[in-house]
């Protein structure tokens, strides 16, 4: 048995031991605030057990282990449905970026520790009403204000902002230069005066994303995390991290086995659905595709283990898996016949075809819309021409809105 298999087994044993306290069953019927509170207690326990910041330096309270161990733990953790998603973005992008670009080491250390223990949550303030896919097109202004800065404007689609203590933010510090060149990267105190968070209700009824308004919010220059005008690079670095966060060949929806079980329990024209060619084809095609994605991920892990850089094909996962999850969920609803009309908006997306279906479009848009992912593959991997961009090189304040 390989080291990371033993590691996974140890992790699983620990997760078992706290399952009844934090796991799926413990979360049943909790409202968001109760669930979040439980999540904070789970993170504290996870930290104490030595499963926090697994691949982070020890000096920051991490375990100093490898990316493999981190992924292995996440795979085990997912099996128990632990309440850790509130902290996923916080520990996923902002904190690592803070560790890398944070000026004040002491301050950084303190934040990282509190984040690992679930005491503090960070959010990522990138998207704006004017530009979901077009990050560099953002409008939120940061103006010199004495030795510091003053933020005015609005962010959109900020996940968990309503629970966040801090956030990382990209703002326009110079509207007179081309759009990529006028941005600067800061961290911001979400409790500071002038910050207003308004949750946005999504199609499925949940509200984990927010509008965030900034009205003369004051920052010290110490909160700046990039050179003035050098914010786009740090923002890109932040997004690149996402590529390496845990993938899911099920597109973050139900596992194919659940569809197979459904096909065994349901009937088409009186015969078991599993015997119907249409259903068999859907199962086989989805399984084959997911099997390919999993082989890609497995190979990437082996390369990381061997100290190699995994290939760009890792970027296929979200594009392919979420899109197919959407159609498979629709088919699952059809398969249930009139019973498929039943709906429980709180049913877990990874176990319920209805919530999987209603939230799938968010998955196809958040973290890079399908079309943007295809462009990235075409341009960065295959070297095909960039799209026509009339705004290229044009001073931002001269681009027609």
């Amino acid at each position: 048995m390989t080291d990371d298999q033993t590691y996974a087994e140890r992790a699983n044993t620990w997760l078992q031991s706290v399952d009844s306290e934090f796991g799926r069953s413990a979360r049943l019927g909790l409202c968001v605030s109760e669930d979040l509170a439980l999540g904070r207690r789970y993170l504290a326990a996870r930290f104490a057990a030595g499963y926090a910041g697994i691949h982070w330096p020890v000096e920051f309270g991490g375990q100093g282990l490898g990316y493999i161990e981190k992924l292995a733990f996440e795979i085990e953790e997912a099996k128990f449905g632990m309440p850790s998603h509130y902290f996923g973005i916080s520990l996923g992008m902002p904190i690592p970026i803070l560790m890398k670009y944070g000026a004040d080491k002491e301050f950084t250390k303190e934040r990282v520790l509190k984040a690992l223990k679930g005491e503090e949550i960070w959010c990522q303030l990138f998207s704006e009403p004017a530009g979901g896919s077009d990050l560099a097109g953002l409008r939120l202004r940061a103006e010199q204000d004495g030795n510091g800065w003053k933020l005015n404007g609005q962010k959109l689609w900020t996940s968990y902002a309503q629970h966040s203590d801090y956030g990382v933010i990209v703002a326009r510090t110079d509207p007179t230069v081309p759009k990529h060149k006028g941005l600067t990267y800061f961290w911001v105190d979400m409790k500071a005066p002038g910050v207003e968070v308004r949750p946005i209700k999504l199609a499925g009824g949940d509200s984990h994303v927010n509008e965030v308004f900034f009205d003369d919010v004051k920052l010290t220059d110490a909160q700046r995390m990039s050179p003035v005008g050098g914010g786009f690079g740090v923002a890109m670095a932040t997004l690149m991290i996402e590529r390496y966060s845990a993938t899911d060949s099920a597109g973050f929806g139900p596992h194919i086995d659940l569809f197979v079980s459904l096909a065994r329990e349901t009937r088409i024209n009186g015969r078991p659905a599993i015997e119907d060619g249409r259903i068999r084809s859907a199962i086989a095609r989805n399984y084959a595709m997911r099997n390919g994605l999993e082989a890609i991920t497995a190979r990437a892990m082996l390369m990381l283990q061997a100290g190699m850089e995994p290939g760009p094909e890792g970027s296929l996962n979200k594009l392919v898996s979420v899109r197919s999850r959407q159609k498979l969920s629709e088919l699952a609803i059809d398969l249930q016949g009139v019973n498929g009309l039943h709906f429980d908006e709180h049913a877990p997306v990874k176990e319920n075809w209805q919530t999987s279906w209603i939230s799938a479009p968010t998955g196809r848009i958040a973290g890079g819309a399908d079309e943007m992912l295809l462009n990235t593959i075409a341009e960065r991997i295959l070297g095909l021409p960039q799209d026509h961009r009339p705004d290229k090189g044009v001073p931002f304040n001269q681009i027609p809105a």
Partner: protein, 364 residues
């Protein structure tokens, strides 16, 4: 019937669209999602006052003596504005059943009230995954119904149901006054459909047909409802295609309207194709009502319209990006409606099988 609308029919289409757009705000549908069993009262009042409920019924019974083509026109417009209640289709189906199979007494009792809209009808054929179970579990004996019918669209408010049950092992079609039945509502992803399980406990009913005749009649009623629904689905797909087009023409990214990117532009063009194919198929089927190949035409229309609405919902949301998945934007109302219409009248798998059986029969 011709594939060309005459002036009267065009007038019906234009007038219903005008009044629906004037009186029904899609936003008004949002709160209905969060309540169980509430429909858009304004829509239903309009349907009654405009005579849409009477449209396809004979004058002798308080109807306007028009047909599927006209009702389809109304349904298409209703689909554009997310028809606020499912009764237009279900009452039509129920009335048709009584008209074709009911006794004079039954006709006299129900048809005028269904035509005026003061009574609401429902169709209770399906059981679990089977839209037309050959030997239903619900039973009929000594003029009384027992057992349950799951997830009946409009069931929470229907006064009358046409029930596919079995009598001593043979399928029967029964008309039942729901005063004597129990309704169990539940949460659906499209609550304004007022879906409910109907539970019968020695509920009195009147036999309409039995054996193969019952199954044939049930399929015919389902096919007629499917054609009305195909128009409704076409209307929904059409309005989504238009919203996608308008958004793509105004929303800018990378310095140009996103409609300038072929991934967006071609997807909308494909939606146009799906909408026009669905429209043509639905009209063709409506015009075939009463012809020998009506079932075939209805199945084809149903399949094309279901694909059009589901695809339009998927793509229109995707083209809208982040705003498309917000509660307020309300595009999910169409996502939900596309799915509920796809399921209610028998799913794609069912109609594919019906159509192929018809086609295979021909080339036999």
């Amino acid at each position: 019937m011709s594939l060309l609308y005459d002036e009267g029919q065009l007038a019906i289409g234009n007038e219903s669209r005008r009044i629906l757009e004037a009186r029904v705000e899609p936003a008004q549908m949002l709160p209905l999602l969060e309540k169980q069993g509430e429909y858009h009262a304004g829509f239903w009042e309009m349907a009654m006052e405009q005579g849409w409920t009477a449209l396809a019924l004979p004058e002798a019974h308080g109807g306007l003596d028009l047909g599927l083509v006209e009702l389809g026109l109304i349904a298409l417009q209703a689909g554009r504005s997310l028809s606020g209640a499912p009764f237009l289709t279900s009452s039509f189906g129920a009335a048709k059943a009584i008209l074709d199979l009911g006794s004079d007494a039954l006709k006299a009792e129900w048809l005028p009230r269904l035509a005026s809209g003061e009574s609401i009808g429902a169709i209770a054929f399906a059981e679990d995954q089977h839209p037309l179970p050959p030997v239903p579990e619900a039973t009929f004996a000594d003029g009384k119904l027992s057992g349950a019918k799951p997830a009946v669209s409009g069931g929470l408010h229907a006064d009358l149901a046409i029930v596919l049950a079995s009598m001593a092992g043979t399928p029967v079609l029964v008309a039942a006054d729901l005063a004597g039945a129990q309704r169990q509502g539940f949460q659906t992803f499209d609550n304004s459909r007022c879906t409910a399980n109907l539970v019968f406990n020695d509920t009195p009913g009147e036999l309409l047909a039995s054996g193969q005749q019952a199954l044939d009649a049930a399929l015919h009623i389902l096919a007629q409802q499917a054609v009305v629904t195909a128009h409704e689905q076409t209307g929904g797909a059409e309005v989504l295609m238009e919203r996608a087009r308008d958004y793509a023409n105004t929303r800018r990214a990378f310095g140009q309207p996103i409609g300038g990117f072929q991934s967006v532009k071609h997807r909308i063009a494909e939606l146009y194709g799906l909408v026009e194919l669905a429209r043509a198929g639905a009209l063709h089927a409506a015009a075939q009502d009463g012809q020998p190949d009506f079932i075939k035409a209805a199945a084809a229309a149903r399949i094309q319209a279901t694909e059009a609405y589901d695809t339009a919902a998927r793509d229109c949301v995707q083209i809208h990006g982040g705003i498309g998945v917000t509660w307020e934007a309300g595009l999910h109302l169409h996502m939900r409606r596309a799915r509920s219409l796809a399921v209610e009248q028998g799913n794609m798998l069912f109609w594919e099988d019906i159509l192929v059986d018809e086609l295979a029969g021909e080339t036999a």
